[in-house]
Symmetry: C2
Subunit: 493 residues, 2 copies
């Protein structure tokens, strides 16, 4: 069975297959009976919960409050904003009836044709429309602003090609929807939230990200400006990991949401919206894991330390348990989540492989000799290095080691990102380099035509115009026309 | 505006209208554009979040893990368990298509007839079917058991008559689904979880509940036994507040979920499921609130203490703020959530009325004279009693006062429940008494026929056969046939 656990495709053989297998073998998620929808298993959900709790606290720190809006959106609402409906109508689940009935021909139950809805309802692909339809009643005066609301919810987009966590028909996410008195305030909030996402990615996910602005083509349907965080996976592909949209007055106009300003005049309200989803799970898995399985940053690991006793009989186990209990207590008092696995139906070797696969950051093994010597064997998952250490003071050592591991995982990802980021100056060089993956910093003339040509010819897209990038002007690598600054181009998930 | 806040219908005039108005005026929730679906506003959601966090920790304490299963359920899954489909098919939202398209006649977008699903999908009314369809892959041996899983999710039941929180088409809930090797273990878990709910209701919601078993007629569709907690509202009606179902092997058989037992034989798995929903919000509001607005038990109040400075100018405000800041700090260090409302666009009288309406358990007011005297004025929401107290030691006083308020709210509800619970011995007496509300403890012959007759003639239903009730036998108040014990009969929400 330990062998079976290890039987994971290598990244170098087939990166995509490695990912798909890892998601299942590490007990994170699996395909469900419903096309494109996954089941998130307890171990995967525990990681998502840690992400949620952390993000939720970060949002609240900035004054955001949670609320909940309906799952179903009237079709007419979706249609109010022209670009928005264009962007979402082609991939939505439509509720047309509200009842089943016994089949008159005796074959189970069928849709009751008499229970047809007057107006079809759409399972929300995102909630701008229902929320702005509601804000109309909440906003009257500048005193009602800003309105800073978030919801944790499930959404549905009928994607044709799906992959667990990265692109599923139903996914879990949060969507923030803010309302402001001025354009500047709304855009400031848009930027503030993309920075919250970047902070979260770096500090908790150990994921270096490039923060930037999307090209017009890649904007959210209905936005004036979309900010993004783009992370690099181990194959050099980009993964869009979170977006924040400046919506201008588009939704306020579509739903007639105005406020009386301090000068006593009616104005349309300004908006932002921003979201991250279970896609972050995909980023986390893909960015750090190795051929032995998951590598989880300690800040998001459901189990941070596992302790495996190695014993031949009940007496030995009792002696080990007695010796190790104070260590467990001390770890817990330091706020470290620890699991003591003394189950007798799995051998230590199996346990080792399983916890490696599941990415537990620190493993302690304690055997009879350790008892004699007052030692434990410690393995860190990020480097797979083992050392034998005195049991005395081990909890404090682990406490700082977890931070060291967190930093090391980040540093490794950052080093890879730097190594695989290239300044490219000609289209020929670009076409060659893009095959091996990586972020290409290129001059682009800013036109959708050139963008479309690059995408068609190389399958690469403009990931973003980086906010802190080099702003030296140059000439477009494709057309030779002037370019204001280099943009990030890459193939992506 | 303060007048408008107070303009709440009195309970004695129209209890039902009082409730509906209170939900809206206290900013808890409002009707949405989608029939039967509500918007849960930030203040209401903050209470729900406190409920969720507490319950989630209580579940985990018993070994339960969270997971997530798909929103949409294939129609054929729903039909596998005969009673289950009978119970839910008549009130479900059906997804029949996965795409909209531009109307060829130019009227916005329409359902694309070419995007019809081969098999219709049902928005989950509850998840037994999809979960047991999944468990089939997770359970093979007795070593895989027990499986203790919960999910926090939205569900949908197309109810014809809806009321905010009490009965909505979409609602938020948790549903636990456990799998066991023996009938006893599954039924023990069923009972354990109804007791968790009862504990939560009593300790956090300050809500006394009767724990009991449902009659066969009132069982969950597909269960062998349903346990319930029944709470009494101020009008004497019962509110079913949480249920826990012993499902036997029904779903295991429907989805062919077997395990190899220790004797190496295949057996069907035993199951429980249990849930509470945003309906608890309705119970909380209805049970404790008064004609001035919400009365929130401190353990669930998003704001436990509000401090309102009363000042004539900026100088006075600064002096009050300086004096009160150490109190705020001390309250926070005690883990008490406190709001200091120094907003200058609302008068103190308005603020007082608003925080009363919102049920904030403790209000402090600090004016110029208090500054001189080193005092504060404290009002407790449950009794509306005011006293002037020294500012010295006020935080410690509030800390114990919050517990006193929590207990007082519970005691009050319990006293009412006792007062309005009657032993009734004849059907005539029953018919008379039921008009004024309350729980009637009556002998019943145990037949569905008698149960149906009571319901038809009096609109009252058997709420439960109480677990800790008097088990002295007697004769049915309707038919005179033998009865094993008194049951609780009441009108209900």
């Amino acid at each position: 069975m330990a062998k079976e656990l290890k039987n994971l495709t290598k990244r170098s053989e087939n990166y995509s297959q490695w990912y798909n297998e890892l998601v299942v073998k590490a007990d994170l998620a699996e395909q469900s009976a419903v096309r494109g929808c996954m089941v998130i298993k307890p171990y995967g959900y525990a990681i998502w919960e840690k992400m949620q709790r952390t993000l939720d606290a970060m949002f609240k720190e900035t004054g955001v409050q949670n609320a909940y809006f309906p799952l179903l959106i009237p079709k007419s609402y979706l249609c109010r904003e022209a670009e928005h409906v264009e962007g979402f109508a082609k991939e939505c689940a439509v509720v047309t009836h509200y009842r089943l009935k016994n089949d008159p021909e005796g074959n189970g139950v069928v849709v009751d044709p008499e229970a047809r809805l007057e107006e079809e309802l759409i399972v929300r692909p995102t909630s701008e429309t229902i929320i702005w339809g509601t804000y109309k009643n909440w906003i009257h005066s500048y005193r009602d602003l800003p309105l800073l609301i978030n919801q944790w919810a499930n959404v549905m987009r009928w994607e044709m090609r799906t992959r667990m966590f990265l692109r599923t028909a139903e996914f879990l996410w949060q969507e923030g929807h803010t309302a402001h008195a001025t354009a500047k305030e709304a855009e400031d909030r848009t930027v503030q939230m993309i920075n919250v996402y970047a902070d979260f990615a770096r500090k908790y996910m150990a994921l270096p990200v490039v923060v930037g602005v999307k090209s017009e083509t890649e904007r959210f349907a209905g936005a004036l400006n979309t900010y993004t965080i783009e992370a690099m996976m181990q194959d050099g592909k980009a993964l869009q990991s979170g977006t924040s949209h400046f919506l201008g007055q588009n939704f306020a106009k579509a739903f007639d949401v105005t406020f009386i300003n301090k000068e006593n005049q009616a104005e349309y309200v300004w908006a932002s919206s921003w979201g991250v989803s279970t896609r972050l799970m995909g980023a986390l898995i893909m960015a750090h894991s190795d051929d032995n399985g998951l590598v989880l940053p300690p800040h998001l690991a459901p189990i941070q330390v596992v302790i495996v006793p190695i014993y031949k009989n009940d007496e030995q186990l009792a002696a080990i348990s007695e010796k190790i209990q104070p260590v467990i207590n001390e770890l817990k008092s330091l706020g470290i989540s620890v699991k003591y696995d003394d189950a007798d139906n799995r051998r230590p070797g199996f346990k080792f492989a399983d916890y490696e696969l599941k990415g537990v950051p620190v493993r302690l093994a304690v055997g009879a000799r350790d008892l004699e010597n007052g030692t434990v064997e410690l393995m860190r998952r990020d480097t797979l290095e083992k050392e034998t250490l005195p049991i005395e003071g081990i909890a404090a050592h682990i406490n700082s080691l977890l931070e060291e591991i967190q930093q090391n995982i980040y540093d490794k990802a950052l080093a890879r990102q730097k190594e695989m980021t290239y300044e490219v100056n000609s289209y020929d060089e670009f076409k060659e380099k893009i095959e091996a993956g990586g972020f290409m910093l290129c001059h682009w003339d800013g036109t959708p035509e050139t963008e479309a040509r690059i995408k068609e010819e190389t399958k690469a897209t403009i990931r973003c115009i980086p906010l802190d990038g080099d702003t030296t002007p140059g000439v477009c690598m494709v057309t030779g026309k002037p370019s204001k600054q280099r943009v990030v181009i890459a193939r992506s998930y």
